[in-house]
């Protein structure tokens, strides 16, 4: 087998795994957009906030420590204990659920029935607010995320591919666990939406508010539920990206990578978010591999957006989005 082809296979595989990470972020957008028609600009910052909170709890940091020290002249930074990863994750889930309640109570409950653009503006405000809170609560230094996920090269794949091709693939264990966790998460979400009463209510609200009210569904409750789920997805994305490249401000920018994924997959489809993520992941990896060297590289920075643009021209609703039919 020619070397080029073997390299391409490795690149594709890595691209797929990268795509899973993109899909994970896009998923959070889809959840909220489907259920409430809100395009949540703050999804990326939610991932940052969740990751920061997780690390903070794990390391036993005092929330708002800087602020407290400043006001009271004290010098406390740590509680002096360390929380095990699993417990810290559960606590962070609770924090994200609390965040969902507050967002619904103080922001979106008052904006029911407003234009989508107004809701969108509100989420922009929310993003900056949350970014500030995150800074104030946990500080702005780069943190290491370690929840015990395996890292580094996967020896089994390395050995197996070496056996077959005479060349060992470099596949990161972290990427593999991300893919597995994402699969479990998506499976869980779909089961939740299809087979539980809360999921049925969620789908009902996503479809028609008025009809949902008339069968006795409490809209506020469902929206809190949806924001909680988006918070949990953000936490998972935050853990994955945080483990990969450290917990830092730039984490919130991964939201931008979700945009082309959404344009490809459609804003209203969970499978769409996944397939969209995979296409972008593989597409940009292969493009960088094949065309990149000819035009000076670094094509990952823009390839996804160009692909999304091309897509918009031919299929504006995305691959899996609901078909746009205009009746005249």
């Amino acid at each position: 087998m020619p070397d080029q082809l073997i390299f391409a296979m490795e690149v594709t595989l890595n691209g797929l795994l990268n795509g899973v990470m993109y899909a994970l972020v896009a998923l959070g957008f889809v959840l909220i957009f489907k259920a409430s028609g809100i395009f949540n600009y703050a999804q990326g910052v939610m991932a940052l906030f969740a990751a920061m909170t997780l690390v903070g709890i794990q390391q036993g940091r005092v929330p708002f420590g800087h602020l407290i020290n400043e006001i009271f002249g004290t010098d406390i930074h740590y509680f002096g204990w360390e929380v095990p990863a699993l417990a810290a994750i559960l606590l962070t889930v609770l924090v994200m659920m609390g965040f969902a309640v507050l967002v619904q109570k103080f922001v979106f409950r008052h904006l029911v029935g407003q234009e989508p653009i107004i809701l969108f503006m509100a989420t922009i405000g929310l993003a900056y607010f949350l970014e500030g809170v995150s800074d104030l609560m946990w500080g702005s230094e780069i943190r290491n995320m370690d929840v015990g996920l395996p890292q580094g090269i996967n020896d089994a794949i390395d050995a197996a591919t070496f056996e077959i091709f005479g060349y060992g693939f470099f596949i990161d264990n972290l990427d593999i666990s991300a893919a597995i966790i994402a699969a479990i998460l998506v499976g869980g979400l779909i089961a939740f939406a299809q087979y539980t009463k809360q999921g049925r209510a969620m789908r009902a609200v996503a479809d028609d508010h008025q009809a949902a009210l008339s069968v006795g569904i409490k809209l506020n409750y469902v929206w809190v539920l949806v924001w909680s789920l988006a918070g949990i997805v953000a936490l998972v994305a935050g853990i994955m990206w945080g483990s990969k490249s450290g917990v830092q401000f730039s984490l919130s920018l991964i939201a931008l990578k979700a945009l082309p994924v959404l344009m490809l997959g459609g804003f209203t489809s969970i499978p769409g978010a996944i397939v969209g993520g995979l296409i972008i992941g593989v597409g940009e990896a292969l493009f960088e591999f094949s065309i990149g060297p000819m035009i000076g590289g670094a094509t990952e920075n823009w390839f996804a957006y160009v692909l999304a643009l091309v897509f918009l021209v031919f299929r504006p609703q995305g691959l899996f989005g609901e078909k746009i039919i205009e009746r005249v």
Partner: protein
């Protein structure tokens, strides 16, 4: 306090009608300067088919929205089962056993007929998320029970053949029937129908009339309906409230209403003689 056990009456076709389940007392509803409903009172009795009629813009739909909690009136009281109902959200009213359909059909277009009907059972589900996740005890029992009820109603309204069809693909007449099924499956004590026959052809209208009578007969459901088609209303209903420009101008059996001069002037007379 109102005595809901007070005597009922017997209809012309021999059905026994019970005491008052709901009473509207001096309801006034305003939108800014516009008075949509002006000081209207009437009652709804157990097991009857009560119609609200009137020309366009008379305030019929507003009245239905008051009953179902989509609007809260500025003045007046709604007495439900003997006690005054505080201002409520629509979902709270629905949980009290008052189901409704809409003039412009509000279904979950992306879901199948069966799923739509099942949403009507949401308030009959008590199992916790944990029970549901592991599909044990209460969750399993409830789901089976709810599913049975849904299938029963689907059978009753003769929509078995489209059970698995997404609602968005159905023709108008069938959508209306699915909406009725979703309201009916919650086993409401009062069923509100907002123009159940609007936009239907003669055959569909006949079907729908038959279903409404069957529902009332089979389940003893109290039905409040708004309708434009006078012939249909007179055939279907036991008592009729007539509204015009937000005011009540008549209330009684179809025959009484038909001979009421004010009603004839406002609504009927013009079209007929």
């Amino acid at each position: 306090m109102l005595d809901s056990t007070q005597e009922g009456y017997t209809t012309e076709d021999g059905r026994k009608i019970g005491g008052v389940v709901m009473e509207m007392r001096n309801i006034t509803l305003r939108f800014g300067g516009v008075v949509a409903i002006k000081d209207i009172s009437f009652d709804i009795r157990e097991g009857e088919i009560r119609a609200i009629i009137g020309p366009n813009g008379a305030g019929k739909s507003s009245m239905l929205n008051v009953i179902s909690g989509f609007y809260n009136p500025q003045e007046g009281e709604v007495i439900y089962r003997g006690s005054r109902r505080p201002p409520m959200k629509p979902f709270q009213v629905a949980r009290q056993g008052i189901a409704r359909t809409f003039q412009n059909i509000a279904l979950f277009e992306g879901m199948t007929v069966l799923d739509n009907v099942m949403t009507g059972r949401l308030n009959h589900m008590r199992a916790s998320l944990l029970d549901q996740a592991f599909w044990w005890g209460k969750a399993q029992r409830e789901e089976v029970e709810n599913r049975q009820k849904a299938e029963e109603i689907i059978d009753f309204l003769e929509i078995q053949h489209i059970r698995k069809t997404p609602v968005g693909r159905l023709p108008y007449g069938l959508k209306k029937r699915v909406e009725l099924a979703r309201a009916l499956v919650s086993e409401p004590s009062i069923l509100l129908l907002d123009e159940p026959m609007a936009g239907m052809n003669v055959e569909e209208k006949e079907d729908m009339s038959r279903f409404i009578l069957d529902v009332n007969d089979e389940y003893g459901t109290t039905i409040v309906l708004i309708e434009h088609d006078m012939g249909v209303v007179m055939d279907l209903s036991d008592r009729v409230v007539v509204m015009d420009y937000g005011k009540k101008i008549g209330d009684g059996t179809p025959n009484e209403v038909r001979s009421n001069q004010e009603v004839i002037d406002a609504y009927l007379g013009v079209a007929h003689d």
